[in-house]
């Protein structure tokens, strides 16, 4: 008895080792990939900016200046000038990265968790349960995403958590679909069959045996979801549905656009636009790199 236990623990250690090696290989391939390198670089810069915002800022982003400080071009005090209420654009851009990244990461996490649960359950159990779940998925995928997000955000009220909820509600079906099709092929594999034969419970089969095998795809899905969530937040905020308390890049553009002073104050418009585009490009490139790496045969081609 104790013998098998020891064997099990050795087995576990070996598995852990293999996993670590896999992660190492993956990171190596990512940095080796041209787009992966650029993507990771951009994302790391923005993560740094988001974390270090309080250190990098010159003035509080909310602080309204006095009348003489309205719409002044970049100078030594206001690195990127001020907006129509005399607020510092530089600090707004810094703090905006927090909103984008927060919404991106939290929505992606919520999406992947929901999508995986639905996908695994539907794929594993099959039958009527699968039919019903997949019909719901199909229905959500049929709805036009932006109008639905606009309507929900308008109805629920502008607030960062509502935006996360709305983005998640729109995105989970894609993940559910991807996971389900994976599970359908995985559950027929011998190792699942073997585990079932020795009397493993369904919950163990689903989350102990099948789930670890969908993790790589989930990672790719998560990167795509982050990209889409950042994109969605930017659009919603630009359309005036952003959280008024937490100024995001989209909201900055909304106010600039709404004020009608866009043409006079390019320093107010360009920084958030460039930030949005760069961050989305960063995640798009990372996503492309990840899906390239996960393609069968890529690893072998690179000599690993």
């Amino acid at each position: 008895m104790s013998n098998t236990k020891a064997e099990l623990s050795i087995n576990k250690k070996r598995k852990q080792k293999i996993r670590n090696q896999k992660i190492k290989d993956f990171l190596y391939l990512l940095i080796d990939h041209k787009m992966g390198k650029i993507g990771v670089g951009i994302i790391v810069i923005f993560l740094f900016v988001a974390l270090a915002a309080p250190l990098l800022r010159t003035v509080s982003p909310h602080q309204s200046g006095n009348a003489s400080e309205i719409l002044i071009p970049p100078n030594s005090q206001f690195i990127l000038g001020t907006d129509d209420l005399g607020r510092d654009v530089w600090s707004q851009v810094l703090y905006g990265s927090r909103v984008s990244l927060l919404i991106g990461f939290v929505s992606a996490l919520a999406t992947v968790v929901t999508g995986t649960l639905v996908g695994i359950i539907a794929g594993f159990y099959g039958g009527i349960l699968e039919e019903v779940l997949m019909r719901i998925v199909d229905f959500f995928m049929m709805l036009p995403a932006l109008p639905l997000m606009i309507v929900l955000a308008a109805v629920l009220g502008p607030n960062i958590w509502n935006i996360i909820f709305v983005v998640t509600l729109i995105s989970w079906p894609t993940t559910a679909r991807v996971v389900r099709s994976q599970v359908l092929s995985l559950k027929e594999r011998p190792f699942v069959e073997a585990s079932r034969c020795i009397g493993a419970k369904n919950s163990f089969l689903m989350f102990g045996e099948i789930f670890p095998n969908v993790v790589p795809i989930l990672f790719a899905e998560a990167v795509i979801m982050i990209t889409e969530a950042i994109y969605a937040e930017a659009v919603l905020s630009f359309l005036g549905l952003g959280d008024p308390v937490r100024m995001s890049w989209g909201s900055m553009l909304h106010f600039a656009f709404d004020s009608g002073t866009m043409a006079r104050a390019p320093w107010w418009v360009l920084p958030p636009i460039v930030s949005i585009i760069l961050l989305i490009i960063g995640f798009s490139f990372l996503g492309t790199a990840v899906s390239d790496i996960l393609k069968p045969g890529y690893k072998e081609k690179k000599g690993l």
Partner: protein
């Protein structure tokens, strides 16, 4: 026979989806916090009795079930509700705008799909070449720029700085143009909004066509075509592209939903008087009945677009006719 069965199945699916959309649409707007009547008459001088009268007028005094039956009845009569902001029936407000949106969206989609398919096909055909890498990274970048951001950039550069194109709207105000001059004026105004949609959408189509093309190029029948000594142009057109376009066509139904997003963003930036700009205004004015009507229109049009794509598919994929093309 199989084709008919296929179409009937898709039609039933589409109808069920439309019913579900109608129900969802009703439900979403019942969870709205606050009293819609209060929102409509913000003036505190309006008395409680008057408000109650308005509630009765709009049927808001009834139970949820009763309200739903009213809603369905109205829908079946083509009545989408009453716009608080415009003080007109929603159907009329939307009806005034539909033409402008269609002309913009059709133009943009035609340009974007043509360009996207051509560039994507070249990219996939020359997979791994320098041309391919250039097209691929260009499309990834384009695909990463939100339409509204692209719109603002185009507006700043071509509108404000270079003064090449008008800043917004659909015609030059009070110009009195008629006939050909009027058409030219509209096209002139359409250039920037159309291109901000095209530039995003073209990225999407390049990526789609390319990946489908790359897959097809690996197929055995391409090797056969080569072993027949066919010219490259024939292999590209008759063998590679015809097969590669099948998944692209399937996805164009789904892409239609993305096109709606692009239209909302572009119309907002360029004040193009269509449904997209109307959506923005409805959000700003918190005009829920109008928003509800617009959402219904968008959702139903996506369902219809998908159904049309299915119909096209039965014509271009011979495998549908015998039921061989299961997913």
């Amino acid at each position: 026979m199989k084709t008919l069965q296929f179409i009937l199945k898709k039609l039933t699916g589409a109808l069920i989806t439309i019913v579900a959309i109608a129900i969802a649409n009703f439900a979403i707007f019942r969870i709205a916090p606050g009293d819609p009547i209060r929102m409509m008459f913000k003036d505190p001088r309006v008395s409680t009795e008057q408000l109650q009268a308005m509630r009765v007028k709009f049927g808001l005094d009834k139970s949820i079930g009763g309200q739903f039956i009213d809603y369905v009845k109205q829908l079946l009569h083509g009545n989408l509700g009453f716009s608080f902001w415009q003080k007109r029936p929603v159907a009329d407000v939307i009806g005034d705008r539909i033409g402008q949106t269609l002309i913009l969206v059709v133009t943009a989609l035609v340009i974007a799909t043509t360009l996207g398919i051509i560039l994507g096909a070249i990219s996939g055909w020359r997979n791994g070449s320098k041309t391919d890498r250039t097209i691929l990274s260009l499309s990834l970048v384009l695909y990463s720029i939100p339409t509204f951001a692209m719109g603002i950039l185009l507006l700043l550069v071509f509108g404000f700085i270079l003064l090449l194109f008008p800043l917004g709207g659909i015609t030059t105000p009070a110009s009195g143009f008629t006939g050909f001059m009027y058409l030219k004026d509209v096209l002139w105004h359409m250039v920037l909004p159309a291109f901000s949609i095209v530039l995003w959408y073209v990225g999407e189509y390049i990526l789609l066509t390319r990946s489908s093309m790359v897959e097809v190029m690996d197929q055995d029948y391409i090797v056969t075509a080569r072993s027949k000594g066919l010219r490259e142009s024939v292999i590209l057109r008759k063998h590679a592209l015809r097969n590669a376009l099948l998944p692209v066509v399937t996805l164009s139904g789904v892409n239609f939903a993305f096109a709606i997003a692009g239209v909302i963003e572009a119309e907002t930036v360029f004040s193009w008087p269509g449904i997209g700009r109307l959506t923005y205004d409805a959000v700003m004015k918190r005009d829920y009945p109008l928003l509800q009507g617009i959402f219904l229109l968008f959702a139903v049009s996506v369902v219809v677009a998908n159904f049309i794509v299915d119909l096209i598919y039965t014509r271009i994929d011979p495998r549908i006719k015998t039921g061989a093309a299961h997913e």
